[in-house]
Symmetry: C2
């Protein structure tokens, strides 16, 4: 029968050293002679010693755990980021505690509270929209954190992301330059989602700069799902006066919209253009391919890991510069049908 699981004192005894030395040896402290360290390693190995994270955390005040709170893991977008984050953390022997709140800010606060309780050493959050109490909590416990997928306009929080507003404006400009004048938009739920709001604002910026505007009726706000994107697109396409370009705040919607066209027999991009945002793997494989703004999803996770790890090691790890997004023009965009819209002026 297995004796109760070995503890550090067992390892120390077996190696013929004190607990202190055993502890140092196992945590790679420089101040242990190689021969001693080896003896300790062997003893640990032989006993199948596994340290108690709880005891270690209590004594050292570090848990070796980092938390990540995302809106959802239900689509591949955040999942990809989280996957990269976890991989990077694992290399540094850190563990990742994940939580998703399905876009409910109260749930998010609760989750963060629980993560703090669990002793996360640092935290990754998505976006800038968070309860003040959340930041207060992190401050009080001096927990390093980083906001991702966005840039905080007021620069009050460390961020790893990009300018959603500018990026969306750029998308819009590409369409404008192609001659589009009648726009519609399919966007995610804006409540508690700064990314969506910024992307909408960016579209409006670009339109306004050319003397256009987006009426409320030209904007359908709906949860992120392929089906919702498809339904929204149907609605637009069944209107007497169709838009010639439909901007989506997310590839999930755009792909849904793409399917709607297929089903309705609408020629994409001849009759209507569609743009996405984020660039999922599948977007490049549709025919026509989806024109979209590529976001470095995995890179965001990796950069968050590097930054947080840096914060935990010393302090002055600089934030990486604003991330670059990239417009990827594929087949889902083209100039609007002639006769229905004026040619572009410039």
């Amino acid at each position: 029968m297995e004796r109760s699981t070995p503890k550090l004192s067992d390892v120390a005894r077996m190696a013929g050293v004190s607990e202190a030395t055993a502890s140092r040896a196992l945590s790679d402290s420089k101040q242990v002679r190689d021969r001693t360290r080896l003896r300790v390693y062997q003893a640990a190995e032989l006993l199948g010693y596994v340290a108690s994270g709880a005891a270690r955390a209590l004594a050292s005040r570090r848990s070796g755990t980092i938390g990540a709170v995302v809106p959802t893991l239900n689509n591949a977008i955040f999942a990809t980021s989280i996957n990269a984050l976890q991989q990077a953390l694992a290399e540094a022997s850190y563990n990742l505690l994940v939580a998703s709140h399905e876009y409910d800010p109260q749930a998010e606060l609760d989750l963060v509270r629980r993560l703090v309780e669990r002793g996360v050493d640092a935290l990754m959050l998505v976006g800038t929209d968070h309860a003040p109490a959340l930041f207060a909590l992190l401050d009080k416990f001096r927990i390093p954190y980083v906001l991702t997928w966005a840039i905080d306009a007021q620069r009050r929080h460390p961020c790893i992301g990009f300018d959603n507003r500018a990026a969306a404006a750029e998308v819009t400009r590409h369409l404008l330059d192609q001659g589009h004048r009648r726009f519609a938009m399919i966007c995610g739920i804006t409540a508690h989602n700064d990314r969506v709001r910024e992307r909408i604002a960016g579209v409006r910026d670009a339109l306004r700069a050319r003397g256009l505007e987006l009426r409320e009726s030209d904007l359908i706000e709906t949860p992120y799902s392929f089906a919702a994107g498809k339904a929204a697109m149907r609605e637009f396409m069944l209107r007497p006066q169709r838009p010639t370009a439909v901007i989506c705040t997310n590839d999930v919607h755009a792909i849904g919209a793409h399917f709607a066209c297929q089903e309705l027999g609408i020629d994409l991009p001849r009759e209507v253009s569609i743009t996405g945002f984020d660039d999922m793997e599948i977007s490049s494989l549709l025919s026509p391919g989806l024109s979209t703004m590529r976001v470095p999803k995995a890179e965001l996770g990796r950069a968050a890991a590097i930054y947080l790890l840096g914060q935990l090691r010393d302090d002055d790890t600089a934030l990486p510069p604003e991330m670059r997004v990239q417009w990827v023009e594929r087949g889902s965009t083209a100039p609007p049908p002639v006769g229905k819209t004026r040619k572009p002026r410039a």
Copy 2:
């Protein structure tokens, strides 16, 4: 200035009770008078008290944390399961530690070791293929675990899943019944992936039962990505002797295959039938829709949570019965082109 973060003794003092009582009150023990509990709550609230998970874990020998180790979070399939698992755990005030190993068994073992060190109370794994040392470790530490997405043939481990082999056989039978005789298969990497191997075996079972077999050259093994599925399908379709039905072990591949047909101008399902496995949201939206075996992804996560939580409560929660999968016939399957294949006999 903020004093150093309050501890239980501060709460106790403020509430005018002993630490023990404060501890009981906060952990909802029945043996505390309501009035006392209230005083403790208020004190805790006032001080902004947040318990130390490490201390609690050390003293109680429970961490309130459950681990999940999945192959990857890069596609929506496991992500959906994990999302459901996390949601269910959160309701029970448990945290989820996730790790992905990208199909590397050594990495998996390392991750599990670290999770054990971190003190996870229970663990969710995917599939039945795991290093013996992994199970030994969980045994030694008496950590409840559950394997998911599969059923262990020897019944040596608790599983929540379904019979991949039988399910794949069923897919194949649907195709056989439609009259198909020339099959090809696109599958995920089989090494360290029992689900894939079982699904292949299921296909072979069904074929053999009708006197057919799958030659090695009719099976392309490739990583799970849309692009890989597409490439594999191209290869099959460019051969002089095309299969009339292509079975994929996963919707990701099948969707890729779908795109290949579109690009090659191959009429789906007239010229060739394609089947998937898992049923992702997007699969129903393609045209034609993808015929696939639906797997209750979120349900798997939820059931795992319920089972593990039950094990921790130590009531003898039974494992749920084998999960049901469901054949969803959509437009990507049809009888093979006439003249190229004999009619089905029965």
